[in-house]
C-alpha cells in the first residue's frame, strides 16, 4: 500500500515503543503513534496524559489533552499535581513524547518564543509539561518535521533540556532521565551519538537520501556511515492507523448538543 510521510512518521514513532512501557503522551502525532503501537505490537503499553488519565485506551484520538474519551477509557483519573509529582518526578514514566517549534543538535527544545522574550516576534504556547517530561522520563522520543527554521544551530529560547551541550553534560549533572533517544523526522530517524550526544541520522525512510536530509536541516547534520532503511508501514499498521484517523475525524466533526433542564 502507498502511504504518506505523515503516516511513515507515525508508524516509525510507534515502533520505538516497547510493549509494557509506561508512556507520557501528548496530543497529535504522539497520541496516534501510541494508540497505533498499543493496537499492533505493544498491547500492554500504558498511556498516561498530563490531564491525569492513567492507563487510558482511547478509541478516537483526543483533540485536547483532556478530552472526555481519555477519562472514559482510563483505569483511573488522578489530580494533575499527582501526575507531575508522583508519576513524572517520581520516576514512573519510561517514555515521554515531545515536539517543539525548534530543536538543536542535542535535542534541546524551544516551544516558548521566537525573538526577545520581552518583545517577541512570535509568542509560542509555552512550556506546558515539557521541562518536567524532558527531565524525568527515562527516555524521550521527539517527533518533528525537519526544516531549516525548526532544526537550528542555536535555539532562540531553551524551554526544555535535551543533552544540553552534549559530551555527557546531562549525565554529569545527574538528570534522572536519559534524555532524547530518538528523533523521528520526515526524512528518517536521528539518535544520539554515544560519545558526543549529538543527534545523528541513523535510519532513512524509503525514497529519501541522506543528502536530502542534510539539505533540509538547519545545522550541519551528521549521518552515520551506512544509515539503515526504515521498513515501510505494513498493511496492518496502515489499516490500523487509517481506521483510527477516520474514527477521529468523524468524532471531532460530531455536533455537540446539550440537554439542559
Amino acid at each position: 500500500m502507498s502511504y504518506t510521510l505523515d503516516e511513515m512518521m507515525t508508524v516509525a514513532a510507534a515502533r520505538q515503543l516497547k510493549d509494557g512501557a509506561v508512556c507520557f503522551v501528548g496530543i497529535g502525532l504522539p497520541s496516534a503513534a501510541c494508540v497505533l503501537a498499543s493496537r499492533t505490537h505493544a498491547p500492554n503499553l500504558v498511556l498516561i496524559y498530563e490531564s491525569g488519565t492513567v492507563e487510558t485506551a482511547p478509541e478516537v484520538l483526543p483533540l485536547s489533552i483532556g478530552d472526555g474519551e481519555l477519562a472514559a477509557t482510563a483505569t483511573s483519573v488522578v489530580p494533575l499535581p499527582e501526575i507531575f509529582s508522583h508519576y513524572l518526578q517520581g520516576g514512573r514514566i519510561d517514555v515521554g513524547f515531545l515536539g517543539a517549534a525548534q530543536i538543536d543538535r542535542f535535542g534541546n527544545l524551544n516551544s516558548t518564543v521566537i525573538g526577545p522574550y520581552d518583545a517577541p516576534k512570535t509568542r509560542l504556547p509555552g512550556a506546558g509539561g515539557a521541562p518536567e517530561i524532558a527531565t524525568h522520563a527515562k527516555e524521550i522520543l521527539i517527533v518533528m518535521r525537519m526544516t531549516k527554521r525548526g532544526f537550528v544551530d542555536s535555539l532562540a529560547f531553551r524551554t526544555s533540556s535535551g543533552h544540553l551541550a552534549g559530551n555527557g553534560e546531562r549525565k554529569a549533572k545527574a538528570y534522572p532521565g536519559h534524555g532524547p533517544q530518538a528523533l523521528v523526522t520526515d526524512f528518517g530517524i536521528l539518535r544520539p551519538d554515544p560519545e558526543s550526544d549529538e543527534l545523528v541520522l541513523t535510519e532513512l525512510f524509503e525514497g529519501v537520501s541522506a543528502a536530502d536530509a542534510v539539505a533540509a536541516c538547519g545545522w550541519p547534520l551528521r549521518v552515520v556511515d551506512s544509515p539503515t532503511r526504515v521498513v515501510p508501514p505494513s498493511d496492518t499498521e496502515l489499516e490500523t492507523l487509517r481506521a483510527l484517523n477516520a474514527r477521529t475525524k468523524a468524532a471531532h466533526a460530531a455536533k455537540v448538543t446539550l440537554s439542559l433542564n
Binding site: I27, E50, S51, G52, T53, P62, L63, S64, I65, G66, D67, G68, L70, A71, A72, V77, P79, L80, P81, F84, S85, L88, Q89, T112, Y117, D118, P120, K121, T122, R123, P125, G126, A127, G128, G129, A130, P131, E132, T135, H136, R158, T159, S160, S161, L164, K173, A174, Y175, P176, A251, H252, A253, A254, K255, V256, T257, L258, S259, L260, N261
Partner: protein, 282 residues
C-alpha cells in the same frame, strides 16, 4: 456558602484588579463565569490558569486583564490563541504582562498555595531559559540534608478561584467527576471560591473517595447548566471540538473577535441565551 445567581456571585466576589483563577484542565472550564466577568466590565484582573484556553483568549481580548500567570497558552490541537498573542506581542487591547511557568511549577505553586506554604520544592534539574524570566518566583536551592539541587517555586494564592463542576448539594458541597486538573489545589489556595454547577441536588450520591470540595471552602454556588461549554462536563455533555477548531478563525483578527464578543457575550443576557444563539441546546 450561599446559593445565588452567577451575576450576583461575580458582582459580590470579583473586583477590579484582583487575581482570579478560572481553573479546570480542558474539562469543566468555567466559560459561563468568564463571560459574566466580561459582561460586568471588570478590569485590571491578574488572570491565573495553567492553560489559558479559549476562555482567557476571550477575556484577554475583551480587555479584562493586564496580567497573566500561565504555563501553556495554545488552542489545544488547533494552534495559537490569537487574542493572547496580540495582547503579548502588540499590547492590544491592553498590554499583558506574563508570569510564565511550566505545568509542573504551576501544579506545585497551587499545591503550596493550598497548604498555605510560601513555596514548593521540585527536583532541581532544569537548565532552561525560563528561570531567567521568573525573578522572585523560582530559585535554585540545596537540600539541607543531602545537598541535592532543588528548585523552589513561589506559592500561588488567587484572590478568587472559579470552577465549574457537575453537582453541588444544598449545603454547598461540590462534586467533581472525571478530569479534575489542579482545581482542588486552586480552590484551597484561594481567598474565595465560586463554583458554577450543572445541578444542585439534595444528595450528591458520591462514593466516599470522590473529589468533593467541602461547603466551608466555597463562598458561592451558582447553578448554570451548560456552564462549561464549549469545554465539557463529563456525564452531561461532550467537549465541542468543532467550536475549538472554529475559534481559530473567529479570533484571528480584532474586528471579527470584537463582533463575536458583542454578538455572543456582551449582547446576550446570560449563558443560556449564548448557548441557544449557538444552536447547541437540544
Amino acid at each position: 456558602m450561599a446559593l445565588m445567581s452567577l451575576p450576583e456571585a461575580i458582582r459580590l466576589h470579583v473586583k477590579d484588579g484582583m487575581s482570579v483563577a478560572l481553573e479546570g484542565f480542558t474539562h469543566l472550564i468555567p466559560f459561563a463565569a468568564g463571560h459574566e466577568i466580561i459582561r460586568q466590565g471588570i478590569r485590571g484582573l491578574h488572570l491565573i490558569r495553567m492553560t489559558p484556553d479559549l476562555i482567557y483568549d476571550q477575556m484577554i481580548g475583551a480587555g479584562v486583564a493586564d496580567r497573566l500567570t500561565f504555563s501553556w497558552g495554545g488552542n489545544p490541537g488547533v494552534g495559537s490563541l490569537h487574542r493572547l498573542r496580540d495582547a503579548v506581542e502588540n499590547g492590544w487591547p491592553v498590554k499583558l504582562e506574563t508570569f510564565e511557568h511550566s505545568h509542573g511549577e504551576m501544579a506545585a505553586a497551587y499545591t503550596a498555595g493550598a497548604a498555605r506554604l510560601p513555596f514548593a520544592v521540585m527536583k532541581g534539574h532544569s537548565d532552561n531559559d525560563l528561570a531567567a524570566h521568573q525573578s522572585g518566583r523560582t530559585t535554585k536551592m540545596d537540600c539541607p540534608f543531602t545537598g541535592a539541587p532543588v528548585t523552589a517555586v513561589r506559592a500561588v494564592n488567587p484572590d478568587v478561584t472559579i470552577l465549574h463542576a457537575q453537582k453541588a448539594d444544598r449545603a454547598g458541597n461540590v462534586l467533581i467527576e472525571g478530569i479534575v486538573g489542579a482545581v482542588k489545589e486552586a480552590a484551597f489556595a484561594a481567598g474565595k471560591v465560586i463554583a458554577t454547577v450543572e445541578q444542585v441536588v439534595d444528595d450528591l450520591g458520591a462514593e466516599k473517595n470522590a473529589v468533593i470540595l467541602p461547603h466551608f471552602l466555597v463562598s458561592a454556588v451558582a447553578c448554570v447548566p451548560g456552564g462549561a461549554y464549549p469545554s465539557y462536563a463529563m456525564g452531561h455533555y461532550d467537549r465541542d471540538n468543532s467550536f475549538y477548531i472554529a475559534w481559530d478563525d473567529i479570533a484571528r483578527d480584532r474586528d471579527g473577535f470584537t463582533g463575536w464578543i458583542a454578538d455572543h457575550v456582551t449582547g446576550v443576557a446570560d449563558h443560556r441565551t449564548f448557548l441557544e444563539k449557538l444552536g447547541v441546546v437540544a
